[in-house]
């Protein structure tokens, strides 16, 4: 039965009220009846005893006249239906009242329940000193009790009915109020169900219904907000799929219904939702050459053999070829049968091409690095993460170690003489003072030896604030090159026979020393040493001995000067000595004399004492000239003059010429 809330409320309350009132009235009447009946019983007993007491005297005196009067008087009472007095032996002395009641078999009612014919039969013995002299019997009508009870019942019923009416009216009012409020809520809920999210109902009062309405409003508002968010999220998802060229699909394997997101259509070269999605439609889009493969993979995934994650080609009707990547997850029922397949399809044409291009590039780079035997050192500066390639590890003899090299590890490898220079250059590069880092330096390899490396690198990535993020460099082993270069350099500046600096180096050092002298305002002496009679040695003993003599003389010259001074072979038997930081003319002269004497010492070769001598020309800076050319010319001139004056002499540009053997000027 369909009942309104109001009807239910009214019916419910009325039913409860009716039952309760029924119980109340019934219980009240029962209590009243019990009390009244008890009262009747007690009253009857008292009346019988009083009757007995009243009649006792007459019974004892067998005074029937008095008894007759008394009993008739008693029987006249409307509540007394009959009255009877018996004498000794139960003999009826007097009786008055209802003939039918008097005629029936006498009985005594002890309890009210014993009542018959609406008459309570009470009796009392007339007893004196324990001996019965008679008995009185009274029939008391209980009809009026029934009448009283009936009246009470009617009164109770009337009150109950009035109360039920009041309750019904109240519940009607309450029900009306409730249904009115509920109706507003119901209408609100319908509006909500029809899509009117955010619909608000009117809130009246402060009771539970008002709270419910408030809760409804807050629910509605929240639904509207959440729905908006969901829609926005859905739009963002679609947007994200469009950007990522990634669509998703949902395949109900059992029903064979397939749903594609808009992006799937686009990826397959279709307009979104232009045609129904199905497995067959999907296969149709797959490149014919890939169809068997795709089907096999789908079946394998459904058979739980391997996950579904494949690349395949898609052929557009216009002939465009795209590569897509598909992934899916399958849910199975308890028996392992596939139920649903949820997957994504992503257009990876560009990625695949890029990846291939990258791979090729990487291969080329690796080949290049490998071929050039270049070590690669890649440092992420904020994190300190580093990467070194295999060549680098091999070069640094750190094979088997991790492919990394921290900056501090690198620093520790640096040669002490190179450290400051290299670190400064590195810091300049990192901090942007230099565009790149380019240095040759020595490192101690894992094997403990020093290797020269040429290291070039630069910061390849900086953050917005210009702070370096990543620095990449390559280096290679140049030890052999450095060694060859040093040798070449030495060869270019030294005399092969005597290993003394050659003319080139001499000129270089002379320019250098002269610049220093100028700067420091010190003196400088240039000595030209020309061996005497050396041609004769060559002619007489051969070039071989001549060379030995030259080497001997060269060593003697070197011994005559300080380490900071330069002795050079200018060619043939010509030598030049450069004395820097000269304090006096005498100091130069002393050296010249020493050289003269040293050259005069015989050279023993092949059992022969070979004696050569040397003529020395001296020019002094600044006294004899301020330029190189001047000083050389003056020294040369002084030397020729000394040779002219006789061998084994030395002479200054200013004319003083001395014989070394005699210790003074030859002149």
């Amino acid at each position: 039965v369909k009942l309104s809330f109001r009807a239910k409320t009214i019916l419910g309350i009325a039913a409860i009220e009716a039952v309760m009132l029924l119980v109340l009235v019934w219980a009240g009447l029962a209590y009243m009846r019990a009390a009244t009946e008890q009262e009747v019983v007690r009253h009857a007993a008292t009346a019988a005893q009083m009757f007995a007491a009243t009649t006792q005297e007459a019974v004892l005196a067998t005074d029937l006249a008095v008894l007759d009067t008394v009993v008739r008087e008693v029987a006249r009472n409307p509540a007394v239906r009959y009255a009877r007095v018996r004498g000794r032996g139960g003999r009826v002395l007097v009786e008055y009242g209802d003939a039918a009641l008097l005629a029936r078999r006498p009985d005594v009612d002890r309890r009210f329940a014993d009542v018959r014919d609406d008459v309570f039969d009470a009796a009392a013995d007339i007893t004196v000193a324990g001996t019965s002299y008679g008995r009185v019997e009274l029939g008391i009508s209980v009809a009026m009790i029934h009448a009283a009870l009936a009246r009470a019942g009617e009164g109770g019923t009337a009150i109950a009915l009035a109360e039920m009416l009041l309750v019904a009216l109240f519940s009607l009012a309450l029900g009306t109020y409730l249904t009115k409020q509920l109706e507003a809520l119901r209408n609100g809920a319908r509006r909500l169900a029809e899509g009117g999210l955010g619909h608000q109902v009117e809130v009246r009062g402060e009771d539970e219904l008002a709270e419910t309405a408030r809760a409804f409003n807050s629910m509605s508002a929240r639904l509207a907000r959440v729905y908006g968010e969901l829609r926005e999220r859905g739009e963002r998802l679609a947007e994200a799929q469009r950007i990522a060229r990634l669509g998703h699909w949902d395949w109900d394997v059992v029903q064979n219904t397939l749903a594609w997101s808009d992006e799937v259509y686009r990826i397959f070269g279709l307009q979104p939702q232009e045609s129904a999605a199905s497995y067959e439609a999907f296969l149709e889009r797959v490149h014919p050459d890939d169809r068997e493969y795709v089907k096999a993979e789908v079946n394998a995934a459904l058979a739980r053999e391997r996950p579904y994650s494949i690349d395949h080609r898609v052929l557009y009707p216009d002939g465009t070829l795209r590569v897509v990547h598909e992934r899916a997850e399958i849910s199975f029922d308890a028996q392992g049968r596939p139920l649903r397949m949820l997957g994504t399809v992503q257009d990876v044409t560009e990625q695949r091409e890029n990846a291939r291009a990258l791979r090729v590039g990487e291969q080329r780079l690796a080949l290049a690095l490998e071929s050039a035997d270049l070590g690669l050192w890649d440092v992420s500066l904020p994190s300190g993460e580093t990467y070194v390639n295999e060549q680098a590890l091999r070069l640094l003899e750190r094979e088997g170690g991790e492919p990394c090299l921290s900056v501090s590890q690198w620093e520790a490898m640096l040669h002490p003489e190179d450290r400051a220079r290299v670190l400064k250059a590195f810091a300049d590069s990192i901090e942007g003072r230099a565009a790149a880092f380019d240095a040759e330096y020595r490192v101690r390899t894992g094997g403990g030896e020093w290797k020269w490396i040429h290291h070039r690198g630069r910061v390849v990535e900086r953050d917005a604030a210009g702070q370096p993020r990543r620095s990449v460099g390559v280096f290679r082993d140049i030890s052999q090159y450095v060694r060859a270069r040093d040798e070449l350099r030495r060869l270019a500046h030294h005399d092969v026979l005597t290993d003394l600096p050659n003319r080139t180096l001499f000129l270089d050092r002379f320019a250098h020393a002269l610049a220093q002298a100028r700067r420091n305002d010190t003196g400088l002496a240039l000595l030209f040493v020309d061996l005497d009679r050396f041609k004769e040695v060559n002619d007489r003993y051969g070039h071989h001995v001549g060379d030995e003599v030259l080497r001997e003389i060269a060593q003697r010259l070197a011994r005559c000067v300080r380490a900071s001074d330069t002795v050079a072979r200018l060619g043939g038997d010509e030598f030049a000595v450069l004395l820097g930081e000269l304090r006096s003319r005498e100091a130069a002269e002393a050296v010249a004399r020493k050289i003269c004497l040293a050259c005069l010492q015989p050279v023993v070769r092949a059992g022969e004492k070979i004696v050569v001598g040397a003529s020395i020309g001296i020019s002094l800076y600044p006294a004899d000239g301020l330029e190189e050319a001047t000083l050389i010319r003056n020294a040369d001139g002084a030397m020729y003059r000394a040779k002219h004056l006789g061998r084994g002499r030395y002479g200054f540009h200013d004319g003083e010429t001395s014989d070394a053997s005699c210790g003074g000027n030859a002149d």
């Binding site: 006792q56 005196a61 005074d63 008095v66 018996r86 032996g89 013995d125 004196v128 000193a129």
Partner: protein, 271 residues
């Protein structure tokens, strides 16, 4: 109890038929029933004769019933017994032991009177017309001796004695019992002028139809009562000394007074 008594089974049983024991109305029927019922119970137990108390509203009714022979046994006033000449012919079988009815006349101690005759023409005080020994017996004697007097009833014995002692009346009627209980000072101012002869008290009579065996049983029980401890309280309650054997002739002196000739005197005590 009533139902049981009426049931055929109980009627067919051994209990002998009850004998009615009529007692002359002296007090209210209830008061008498209270006093007599225990005594009758006792007699029942001792004699084996069932006795049922009965009385009447008043003496005339009692007498009518007596005349009708309604009582098997009856306890009757002495003057009734003496005067009674009814058809049933009740015969006394016992009387109260050691009890006599004897009236007396007191005078002030200093009274010159020496004999009742000295009181001729005087106004005499008596307790009341119902006082048989103190009022009726002395007056009956005065009348027999033809001594004239005027009677004044002063309600109680003590009133009579006090009035006489104060000299308000030259003489008054009384009995020894009440005189002896009087204040000695009052009594000292009184002198007993004259006493009536002793007369027997109430008679316990039986209807002639009561069998001798039953009669014997009842009498035996009655006469033994004053010796039975159980019976003594019952006797005391009725102010009885016990019962002694009696013969009809014991009441001859009473008959000789011919009290029925002085009907005005007997109006107070019946008849």
């Amino acid at each position: 109890v009533l139902v049981t008594a009426l049931s055929p089974a109980s009627l067919a049983g051994a209990p002998p038929p009850a004998m009615t024991f009529g007692v002359v109305p002296q007090q209210s029927a209830s008061r008498m029933a209270e006093l007599w019922t225990p005594l009758l119970r006792y007699l029942e137990q001792v004699s084996g004769v069932r006795l049922v108390f009965a009385t009447a509203r008043d003496i005339p009714t009692f007498e009518r019933r007596l005349a009708a022979g309604e009582y098997d046994f009856a306890y009757i006033n002495p003057w009734h017994y003496a005067l009674y000449r009814g058809v049933p012919g009740y015969r006394a079988l016992a009387r109260e032991r050691d009890r006599h009815l004897q009236g007396l006349i007191v005078v002030p101690a200093d009274s010159p009177a020496r004999a009742p005759a000295d009181l001729a023409g005087a106004t005499l005080a008596f307790p009341g017309p119902a006082a048989f020994a103190a009022s009726v017996l002395p007056q009956a004697h005065l009348r027999r001796q033809r001594i004239t007097y005027t009677a004044r009833y002063l309600v109680s014995h003590d009133s009579v004695y006090l009035a006489v002692a104060k000299g308000m009346y030259p003489a008054g009627g009384g009995v020894f019992g009440t005189l002896q209980q009087l204040d000695p000072q009052v009594r000292a101012r009184l002198r007993v002028l004259w006493t009536t002869p002793p007369y027997p008290p109430h008679a316990l009579a039986a209807h002639p139809h009561v069998s001798p065996a039953v009669l014997a049983k009842v009498r035996e029980a009655l006469l033994a009562m004053d010796r039975e401890p159980a019976a003594r309280p019952l006797l005391q309650a009725l102010a009885l000394n016990g019962f002694a054997p009696a013969r009809d002739a014991d009441w001859d002196d009473m008959r000789a007074l011919k009290l029925d000739e002085f009907k005005d005197l007997l109006r107070g005590v019946g008849r």
